[in-house]
């Protein structure tokens, strides 16, 4: 029996003798006796069958929903079969960061392709190979904008609250002042941002579509930021860019976002994918791995990790970021997803999500669930009033196998994707009607 150790006890004894020892214990003679562990207080090891049963029972102790109307930072989209099939290939799964380019062209090329797709999607010039998630991407973007005399950041209060919290954490330790502009009617007021901009403002962060699904007046905010000499960072939902104007088109300096909607399952919050793209001018401030194209000595096209002078293993305490491992396999997942979908498929996902959300909003509107964002344009999420207690409503929906929207400020933040068919929406609405009538 072995726990992934091929050497038998006899082989181990032989190897010990080969290095001049008689027992395994001697390998640890250097450890002070007073702190040597006698026995770990853990259960004994189990067979694969037993482990499988035990962990499966944990999975089954969760309730999963076929019909999901909850978004708020994690989105339920269809994942084409080819995506999982490709990303579970053992070569991709078990490789390390591609330091040795000669035997890592596969991973390196896939990252180069991912970088290209993210630039296309966001309309920007340069992409890195990924960071941990959308929230850390936003925080890293804020740190990218630090200049000697410009430190502070203005953050839209209509952004995802978790993103704002992570930005605050990253900024606090670097003494970067953060001002959050409260949302007005589920949106950011460009005038409120303009009023706060000073000569010390390094950057403005706005999410579009924002946490409430509203499509912001990003062009006005970008202009205001630039007029004051500050950088514009925009957090985007990558699916929305199948339709919406790109950060490049309205002149943002950095685009970041949560890449999970691009083929990654909900997975209770992770692994997810933080993407970051920027204008060429900021290329050398971008954190994380970046893959570049070059040639080998025979002139053949080759891909390598490049611009490493930014990174921790070269610059140490002067590095642009401490990031080492990123989310490479998640980036490959997004890349395969985008290739499988193609430009038409991506547009279809965006259009279906948008249209389902608008259909649901209209149906709910007829039943007293008034839009809190008024007539502002929205993408695939929207916040409504809730004539009954949202927690009670969600409990009733759960009984019918439906995961309702997120209770927010006494209302509900709803989300639709291409997976919420008309029949599913109609069923939701009829149950909502029943609950409200009770």
């Amino acid at each position: 029996m072995g726990k992934y150790i091929p050497a038998t006890p006899e082989e181990r004894q032989g190897m010990l003798e080969a290095i001049g020892l008689t027992s395994t214990e001697q390998l640890y003679d250097v450890v002070p006796a007073s702190v040597r562990v006698q026995e770990l207080h853990l259960p004994s090891g189990l067979s694969e069958l037993e482990v499988s049963q035990k962990v499966s029972a944990l999975a089954e102790a969760n309730e999963t929903f076929r019909s999901i109307f909850l978004g708020a930072g994690a989105y339920h989209h269809y994942i084409p079969a080819i995506v999982k099939s490709i990303t579970s290939k053992e070569e991709f799964l078990t490789a390390y960061t591609p330091y040795q380019a000669e035997i890592s062209q596969g991973v390196l090329q896939s990252i180069f392709e991912y970088q290209t797709q993210m630039c296309e999607l966001t309309g920007m010039d340069v992409s890195n190979a990924s960071v941990y998630d959308g929230a850390t991407a936003a925080a890293e973007a804020v740190l990218m904008c630090q200049e000697r005399k410009r430190k502070s950041v203005i953050v839209s209060g209509a952004a995802d609250p978790q993103v704002i919290t992570v930005i605050r954490t990253y900024c606090e330790s670097r003494d970067v002042p953060v001002t959050v502009v409260p949302a007005e009617g589920c949106a950011t007021d460009p005038a409120a941002i303009r009023a706060l901009l000073t000569k010390e403002t390094a950057a403005v962060y706005v999410q579009n579509p924002n946490y409430y699904g509203v499509i912001e007046d990003v062009a006005a905010i970008t202009n205001a930021a630039h007029e004051a000499g500050a950088k514009m960072i925009v957090g985007v939902n990558p699916i929305s860019l199948g339709i919406l104007k790109t950060p490049g088109e309205y002149g943002a300096d950095i685009a970041v976002g949560e890449g999970q909607p691009l083929g990654l399952p909900l997975s209770f919050g992770g692994p997810y994918l933080g993407f970051m793209t920027c204008k060429s001018a900021m290329m050398r401030k971008l954190p994380g791995r970046i893959v570049g194209q070059t040639t080998d000595h025979q002139g053949r096209r080759a891909f390598v990790l490049t611009l490493q002078a930014r990174e921790q293993h070269i610059r140490r305490e002067k590095a642009s970021s401490n990031i080492c491992s990123n989310e490479a396999l998640c980036a490959m997942t997004a890349s395969v997803y985008l290739a499988a979908m193609g430009p038409k498929g991506l547009r279809q996902v965006a259009e279906s999500s948008l249209s389902h959300a608008h259909y649901l909003a209209a149906e709910l509107g007829k039943r007293g669930f008034t839009l809190r964002s008024g007539d502002k344009p929205f993408f695939h999420e929207f916040l409504t009033d809730c004539p009954v207690d949202p927690v009670v409503l969600n409990a009733k929906l759960a009984e019918k196998g439906i995961l309702g929207g997120l209770p927010v400020d006494g209302g509900i933040l709803w989300c639709c994707t291409e997976l919420n068919s008309k029949a599913e929406i109609d069923r939701l609405v009829s149950i909502v009607e029943e609950v409200c009538a009770q």
């Binding site: 770990l40 000669e102 596969g106 919050g269 194209q293």
Partner: protein, 477 residues
């Protein structure tokens, strides 16, 4: 080989979605992008073959020996993958009501208990998504602790000169100034130098033990004592935990907080550079500063709690949850017997391979090592002009992933070798023969070695050109 974009042909693709079944919403034109993104249009068969070809040009643990020092490239068990792919985990929305995610919370809670036992800590967060992210989180714990005591003078983090680059980079991100501590002749921390720099401005020490030259620092109890006496805290970089699990615990060595790389020590795959997971454990007195939320259990029911003086969040939700599922599966499989056995196996394999190479390769330290050892090609470099890089590149021709090159910085022409416990004696014997054969080649024909590798998809790439004229995306001709 061709890029995805070079395989694209307008009009190709797959019917993946039904037509929209509600009236299509039209947004005002000024909100919409002017043209579609130039994504490849590709048939499913071409897409499938494209990645099969890319996979053939990727060396993973499953393709062969991978003794990449400091990265712990052990075998990634298949059952761990199968468990993490269970729909009861993958289809869970992170914001579902807590009564519907009790199994997932139990995963986090149980993994916390087990990993705290292994590291000698009292509380843990899974929010950090990688080792460096864990370092950052641990340093914020230290920062919050000193702040809570009104001790604003503690602005310096002590880092040995043998440390990973992430240590000083993380310290800077956490708002500290880095003070380097020199190593002694045995590769450990120079105690006198440490005493000299430890003082009222010391926030803490970051230490990897065993360190990056693969040696356990026998003075560890004195080291942590010196830092504590000066009023600082001790941070354990868990990068090399695979050497000592079940034999000695960071908590017992005097460390106050620790990060673990689940993607090294706990056998979860590296994915070509992530997703990893870098949970951070701490002693009870630091638990109130941990990121929010934390999983708590009462009478068999799991809930989420915000620690009293939380640092906030370092990532969204609960970190890389599926990676934690894999690590928990691994711990359940190994158990209290298998965990120390894995570490002992890693140390045995490293010493066995070192012994086989020691007659011909110069070992940096002439003593038993832990889970890895560092050789120096400095003698060959001076005598025949063959470098660590040349040896590494020639190894590629034999299907072996080279050791870590030119690290740690305190050893010149370094090759850092970490075989891990999951390699058999035959694999180590064969690898040793290849290492020795390459040295023979180097002595006979040093020039020939500069041209290696010969059998790989590409030869040595021009990295200087890549950085000088960056081409970072495909552009259609």
């Amino acid at each position: 080989m061709k890029l995805l974009f070079e395989r694209s042909c307008p009009g190709r693709g797959s019917d993946l979605l039904p037509p929209c079944d509600v009236p299509v919403t039209q947004l005002p034109a000024d909100l919409c992008r002017e043209s579609a993104p130039q994504l490849p249009e590709i048939s499913e068969v071409d897409l499938s073959r494209h990645y099969t070809e890319l996979a053939k040009q990727t060396h993973g643990v499953n393709d062969g020996f991978y003794p990449l020092g400091s990265c712990t490239m052990k075998y990634n068990p298949r059952i761990d993958e199968e468990m993490a792919a269970l729909p009861g985990f993958t289809n869970l929305h992170p914001l579902q009501s807590l009564d519907t995610v009790q199994g997932a919370l139990e995963v986090l809670h149980t993994a916390e208990q087990y990993l705290c036992e292994i590291t000698g800590m009292h509380a843990m967060t899974f929010q950090p998504a990688a080792g460096a992210h864990g370092e950052y989180t641990g340093l914020l714990l230290i920062r919050k602790y000193h702040q809570s005591r009104g001790d604003a003078a503690r602005t310096k983090i002590l880092v040995p000169d043998s440390a990973h680059g992430t240590n000083p980079a993380s310290a800077t991100m956490a708002g500290f100034t880095v003070v380097h501590v020199p190593s002694n002749a045995q590769g450990g921390v120079d105690l006198d130098a440490l005493r000299e720099v430890a003082g009222p401005d010391t926030a803490g020490l970051m230490l990897t033990n065993p360190n990056t030259v693969g040696l356990f620092d026998p003075n560890i109890l004195e080291i942590t004592q010196i830092v504590h006496d000066a009023g600082g805290l001790c941070y354990y970089d868990g990068a090399n935990l695979n050497a000592v699990m079940g034999h000695v615990r960071p908590g017992d060595m005097g460390f106050d907080c620790v990060h673990i790389n689940l993607h090294k020590t706990f056998a979860t795959p590296h994915g070509g550079g992530g997703p990893g997971s870098g949970p951070v454990g701490c002693k009870a007195f630091l638990a109130d500063f941990l990121p929010a939320p934390r999983v708590v259990e009462k009478d068999g029911v799991y809930a989420l709690e915000t620690p009293a003086h939380t640092m906030g969040q370092v990532r969204s939700f609960y970190g890389n949850f599926l990676v934690v599922v894999k690590a928990l599966t691994y711990i359940l499989t190994l158990g209290k017997e298998g965990i120390p056995e894995a570490s002992a196996g890693a140390v045995l394999n490293a010493n066995y391979l070192m012994k086989k190479l020691a007659d011909r390769y110069t070992m940096s330290y002439n003593t038993l090592c832990m889970h890895e050892f560092v050789m120096s090609l400095e003698p060959q470099s001076h005598a025949i002009g063959v470098t660590a890089m040349d040896i590494a590149k020639r190894l590629l021709d034999f299907g072996i992933h080279p050791p870590t090159m030119y690290f740690p910085l305190i050893v010149h022409e370094a090759l850092m070798v970490e075989p891990t416990e999951t390699e058999s004696r035959e694999t180590l014997d064969e690898a040793a023969e290849i290492f020795l054969k390459i040295l023979d080649e180097a002595e006979k024909d040093p020039e020939g070695l500069h041209a290696a590798p010969h059998n790989t998809a590409i030869g040595r790439p021009d990295e200087v050109a890549a950085a000088r004229n960056p081409i970072l995306r495909y552009t259609a001709p």
